[in-house]
């Protein structure tokens, strides 16, 4: 049986692409490795009665047209604060969608030919974050490894994580989108690994699954990051050499670690995130430590008493506290991530928490270090944003939905619109597929 499109990964982008295509009348299959869909958008009960979104408390805002199109609120996703992509991001998204709708370019995404129209947001590529935003550095740099004094750091403003918490955790968002996809006729398969992208003569023809079976499709959308898509799902001799070279040189920027705390007693309620260590000097020193493969002394940390905003996340009288640490290296200079190193992270987070809430009583703590993120999400080097947020790896210097392999489309964090807004890269990939189908480019 041949599908119109098969999607690798039931992340928010994967489900969005699938739902958009199914609503347009296509036959769509989604394959997800984990038993639970959602990717970064999950809710995890890390201790009996205590829940949190394990990787991030908030994602980038979902553009409201996409929110309306999938009717997410009525399907059970209630955002606790409503944030909209800013004007710069909205303009960059409009440009990404424009390119998706337009016919494919003849050159690969990493070969740019002048003249080129500048991308909205590009003006930030040479600016230092500290020069562009005089105020809060914690919001743009939460969970990141970056030095706000260096040119190019202003690009973090294009990768927001202020889309709001969701009542019940980010998993509720995934449930809503999955329900929309299923209602539209998408076939969602969970707990199944994709081993490779089937291809013949430079054209993607489907995917191979771990149980030996195969799904044939006219188009394949991958939501895995750039490196994982090309370097683990293809035989290298099936890819053009320039592609292999460029993808191998793609730099990952993972620096996020999380510690989830179950608190015995709820401290004084505060619904605002608490940022510790986001002064310029500490950010700079932490970034230098990250580059050297060291865990910083005082990693920039954002604490959130999530149960104060959403009481369903902890039993009555208790509380759930999340700590998001930035500049935590994936590769440590002195070896692997051992238990001791994870405990060291937990202790650093606890020390930071105790500066705000003295006498904190911990019932349980779960540490999620960069390798754990890689393991859980298939995100290379634990990078939640699919690649270093650097001047030469953002906007039009990220791959668009179309790739050099005919019939293979890239959505997810590595793509141009991926980090800008949630679900955007999935919708962009869907639009590219539809444009190519209507123009007869996909048989």
């Amino acid at each position: 049986m041949r599908y119109d499109v098969c999607v690798i990964g039931a992340s928010m982008d994967g489900l969005a692409a699938a739902a958009a295509l199914a609503l347009a009348g296509l036959k769509v299959a989604v394959v997800e490795r984990n038993a639970v869909p959602g990717g970064r958008a999950q809710t995890h009960e890390f201790h009996p009665g205590f829940r949190a979104s394990p990787f991030l408390d908030e994602l980038a805002p979902i553009p409201r047209e996409i929110h309306w199109a999938f009717d997410l609120t009525r399907r059970g996703a209630l955002f606790l604060s409503a944030a909209e992509p800013g004007t710069r991001i909205a303009a960059a998204l409009a440009r990404a969608f424009e390119e998706a709708d337009a016919p494919p370019r003849r050159t690969a995404w990493f070969e740019r030919t002048p003249p080129r129209r500048p991308w909205p947001g590009e003006e930030l590529a040479l600016c230092a974050l500290a020069d562009v935003t005089k105020g809060d550095l914690a919001r743009p740099l939460e969970g990141r490894a970056a030095d706000p004094a260096l040119a190019g750091s202003a690009l973090h403003l294009l990768v927001p994580c202020n889309g709001g918490m969701v009542a019940g955790g980010l998993g509720k968002l995934t449930e809503a989108l999955a329900a929309c996809a299923r209602d539209a006729g998408v076939e969602l398969t969970l707990g199944t690994d994709v081993t490779d992208i089937r291809n013949a003569k430079g054209r993607a023809t489907g995917i191979g699954l771990a149980d030996g079976s195969e799904i044939e499709a006219r188009a394949v959308i991958s939501t895995l990051d750039l490196k994982r898509t090309f370097l683990s799902l293809f035989q290298w001799d099936a890819l053009p050499k320039p592609t292999i070279k460029r993808v191998s040189a793609w730099r990952m920027g993972g620096g996020t670690a999380r510690v989830l705390f179950a608190l015995e007693a709820a401290p004084a309620a505060t619904r605002e995130p608490i940022a510790i260590g986001f002064d310029a000097a500490n950010l700079s020193a932490s970034y230098a430590a990250w580059r050297a493969g060291l865990i910083p002394e005082t990693p920039p940390t954002v604490l959130r008493l999530v149960s104060a905003s959403d009481p369903s996340l902890a039993p009555q009288g208790a509380a759930t506290l999340t700590a998001t640490l930035g500049s935590i290296p994936f590769r440590l200079f002195d070896g692997a991530w051992t238990h001791e190193k994870r405990d060291a992270l937990r202790d650093r987070a606890l020390a930071a928490a105790r500066t705000v809430f003295p006498n904190l009583g911990i019932a349980a703590a779960e540490v999620i270090a960069p390798p754990d993120i890689e393991e859980a999400l298939g995100a290379t080097e634990g990078d939640l944003w699919g690649g270093e947020i650097a001047s030469d790896q953002m906007l039009d210097m990220r791959p668009g939905p179309r790739t050099e392999i005919h019939g293979l489309y890239l959505a997810g964090p590595s793509s141009a619109s991926g980090p800008l807004a949630t679900c955007a890269s999935g919708v962009a990939a869907a639009r590219a597929v539809l444009a190519d189908m209507r123009a007869g480019r996909l048989k």
């Binding site: 609120t73 209630l78 955002f79 604060s81 409503a82 905003s309 009481p311 009555q316």
Partner: protein, 370 residues
């Protein structure tokens, strides 16, 4: 013009950081405490406390009070048991909606009438014909809304077991309060003597701290009302105060469900039954975050109705509106058009698409009991 403070004013003033006040029925109320959207969302996730002292509450006493109310309201209040309530309309002689509210029975000859809009003169003069006396209940009231409302009451020492549309007087740790569930948001109302206002507020807030209870202003409450799909007097429509006018009809306001067709004797019944109303109340979801209140609605360039109140719904992330349109355009999903008013940022009229949505827009905040 004096400040008509409610019994909770001192606490409201402390919490009203932006000093954003409004007046409703002559009472000074906080319009927005911090952020109307955050307050409206809090009502769905945590819990909110709103000052509802501005509502018109009249005690109706007399041997023939039940008979009077039978004639007044579109549902028969004489059949109520003490402690029970019903929601009904009262119509003018032309069959148009003059008022809407809840009628509760306290005792054999004592009733309570609660409404968003005051209609004292007309009702009192009608009551006088039955020898029934009316006077203001003179209490302050708070609405407690949200999934944790019941738990907050429990934590505060009040028994939350109360049916919807029930009312109960309670002696609560030395203070007399009236607990009821008349609202449309699944929550509770707590009414008390004006002198006890601050005490009641403090007790509830303290009990609610563990659940993130916060104060909600009138703006947030209006958003919740709109999301619940209820048309309110003054905000959405002008109640019919003139004796024989025929608008607004109960049908056009979606209030027909408050009329008991088997109740034979309510005022304006024959005019109501004779009316041929082709308009109905719908919900509109607008493809914009800009609200469009009291705006004409077009279909294929033809005007087929108008919006009533309109707000940005933070839960739905778009502007919504109640609207009255011709029945033929009322099917959910129908695409209509309206014009957004100019603003400082966009100084021109813009067209926006609006889609008919089934009411209520959103379900009532789910209560977690036990």
């Amino acid at each position: 013009m004096t400040l008509r403070a409610t019994p909770f004013h001192a606490r409201a003033a402390e919490a009203n950081r932006g000093n954003d006040w409004t007046v409703r029925n002559g009472c000074t109320l906080a319009r927005v405490y911090s952020d109307a959207h955050e307050e409206a969302l809090a009502a769905r996730v945590r819990g909110v406390l709103a000052d509802i002292s501005w509502r018109w509450r009249e005690l109706i006493e007399g041997a023939r009070a039940d008979e009077f109310l039978s004639h007044l309201a579109t549902r028969d209040a004489s059949k109520l048991e003490p402690g029970a309530a019903l929601k009904a309309l009262w119509l003018n002689d032309g069959g148009a909606v003059r008022g809407a509210g809840a009628i509760a029975r306290y005792g054999k000859a004592t009733f309570l009438l609660v409404s968003a809009a005051e209609d004292r003169e007309w009702i009192a003069s009608a009551a006088a014909r039955f020898g029934v006396k009316m006077h203001d209940a003179g209490e302050g009231g708070l609405a407690l809304i949200g999934p944790y409302a019941a738990r907050v009451l429990q934590e505060a020492g009040l028994d939350p077991a109360l049916e919807p549309l029930a009312v109960r007087k309670v002696f609560w740790r030395g203070t007399s309060v009236t607990l009821s569930r008349f609202g449309e948001h699944g929550g509770y109302e707590i009414w008390c003597a004006p002198d006890d206002g601050l005490l009641v507020w403090d007790r509830l807030m303290r009990a609610g701290a563990a659940f993130g209870l916060q104060a909600a202003g009138t703006e947030a409450m209006d958003i919740l009302d709109l999301e619940a799909g209820i048309a309110r007097p003054i905000r959405d429509y002008a109640p019919a105060r003139d004796g024989f006018v025929k608008q607004p009809t109960p049908k056009s306001l979606g209030l027909e469900k408050l009329i008991d067709s088997t109740h034979q004797i309510f005022n304006g019944r024959s005019a109501y039954l004779a009316a041929l109303e082709t308009k109905t109340l719908i919900g509109l979801e607008i493809d914009s975050e800009m609200p469009a209140p009291h705006t004409p609605i077009l279909r294929n360039g033809q005007a087929i109705g108008r919006t009533l109140s309109s707000h940005y719904s933070p839960a739905l992330r778009r502007a919504i509106a109640l609207a009255i349109v011709e029945e033929s355009a009322a099917a959910p999903g129908t695409e209509l058009a309206l014009t957004l008013a100019p603003t400082a940022e966009t100084p021109e009229f813009r067209n926006a698409i609006a889609r008919v949505a089934a009411l209520p827009f959103l379900p009532v905040p789910d209560s977690l009991s036990g």
